[in-house]
């Protein structure tokens, strides 16, 4: 027995017994971007038993100022975030069973994904997927520690930590269309770390004490902060958390499988589940048409008509340099023939 967790055990509200609770915890982190990186690192250092981290994206230069698990070499090596995150987290604490999964989470796969986890930590980047996670965790009966940030502003809300508390859907009755897309504004790393810190503190408290389900916000630039008890917003007929729940966001199926990625000039195309990419075969097939062709165990990357195109094994591809789905489809058709 080494001293790895001694300072955490000396913290009286956790103590030795709290640490034993933490050591049994199985955590799913949704998204390995800024918030996901920060909370994954804290939870792995805290010594949870199992941590799964899921992400659909590649590491970009523009990520490095705030996504603390990644390095310049990861960008050069064209690594998916989930893979690089797993490598780094295993190096940080070998006690923890860390799994990185390269996957686009949707209504069709989310329920299977969350099985075997005690709770989910939010590292996603848009409200649509948060409402999906809200539904999936309400149905599974496990907590969801929501967190979101943009600019110098962050907001957190632990869901499912107390009987009869409102869920995210109770608070957001209808989602305006402009919230279906994502914020393209900038963000500074201090608010990422602050937001993730609140999420992880709530996780540790959930395991060893009691979390108050308050909606909280902070702005590190204007120094504004707010904390609101939202319990009166619990809806007795909420479609996501009441006894008559229908989990509407789990019913959306695979209809919308094309997405313009958050705040980026990138379109994601997803092929039906029957079609997976054999990356080496893809590389051979497109070799004559493209430049800067590269493939590793996780992706095949190339440059085609000035667009960088990335193939993932799970049947997805990213077309960079456009926000237009039609353009992305045409390029893909021309490339794959």
């Amino acid at each position: 027995m080494n001293e790895k967790y001694s300072r955490q055990e000396l913290f009286a509200p956790i103590g030795k017994s709290g640490q034993e609770q933490i050591r049994r915890l199985k955590v799913l982190i949704m998204g390995a971007g800024a918030l996901g990186s920060a909370s994954a690192e804290m939870l792995v250092r805290a010594g949870v038993r199992k941590l799964t981290i899921v992400d659909r994206d590649m590491i970009e230069w523009s990520n490095l100022h705030r996504q603390q698990l990644y390095t310049e070499q990861d960008v050069i090596d064209r690594l998916p975030k989930a893979i690089s995150a797993q490598n780094r987290l295993v190096a940080i604490n070998s006690d923890v069973a860390v799994t990185g999964i390269v996957m686009d989470v949707s209504a069709t796969n989310v329920e299977e994904l969350i099985k075997g986890h005690d709770l989910v930590v939010d590292g996603t980047d848009n409200m649509e997927i948060r409402l999906l996670m809200n539904d999936a965790t309400r149905k599974a009966g496990i907590p969801f520690f929501m967190g979101a940030c943009v600019g110098s502003y962050g907001v957190t809300f632990p869901i499912g930590v107390k009987q009869n508390q409102p869920c995210l859907h109770c608070l957001i009755e209808t989602l305006p269309s402009h919230m279906m897309t994502c914020d393209t504004a900038g963000v500074i790393s201090p608010v990422v770390v602050t937001t993730a810190a609140r999420q992880v503190a709530a996780v540790l408290k959930y395991k060893t004490g009691e979390v108050t389900p308050k909606l909280q916000s902070v702005d590190l630039w204007t120094e504004e902060h707010a904390s609101i008890d939202v319990s009166s917003f619990k809806k007795v007929d909420c479609p996501s958390c009441s006894s008559m729940a229908t989990y509407p966001f789990l019913q959306l199926g695979a209809a919308t499988r094309t997405a313009v990625l958050c705040g980026r000039d990138t379109v994601q195309l997803t092929f039906p589940p029957t079609r997976q990419f054999e990356l080496a075969e893809v590389a051979v097939a497109i070799e004559g048409k493209v430049t800067e062709l590269k493939h590793n165990d996780y992706v095949t990357v190339c440059l085609f008509q000035d667009h960088r195109i990335v193939f993932f094994r799970d049947g997805r591809l990213l077309v960079h340099g456009t926000k237009d789905v039609t353009v992305a489809r045409k390029l893909t058709a021309a490339l794959l023939g």
């Binding site: 848009n126 979101a148 943009v150 608070l171 989602l175 504004e224």
Partner: protein, 69 residues
């Protein structure tokens, strides 16, 4: 122009006297279109109660949802 002094999210602000309701204040702050939760003097407001008047020295907490992360 006379100003009204209100405390928004723990920070004291001066707003024009003609900002008379919570609705007005949200527009004045440029966040009326957001998904919001609002508390006025420690009481949470239902969405249909944003026409409530605001007075000098009122304490207002506003949390809006954002997408990023």
């Amino acid at each position: 122009m006379t100003l009204k002094i209100v405390e928004v999210n723990g920070v004291t602000r001066e707003v024009p006297e003609d900002v008379q309701s919570v609705d007005h204040l949200l527009k004045h702050l440029g966040i009326a279109e957001r998904i919001l939760i609002v508390e006025l003097n420690r009481t949470i407001l239902e969405k249909n109660a944003y026409d409530q008047p605001i007075h000098n020295r009122d304490q207002i907490e506003i949390i809006h949802f954002v997408g990023g992360g």
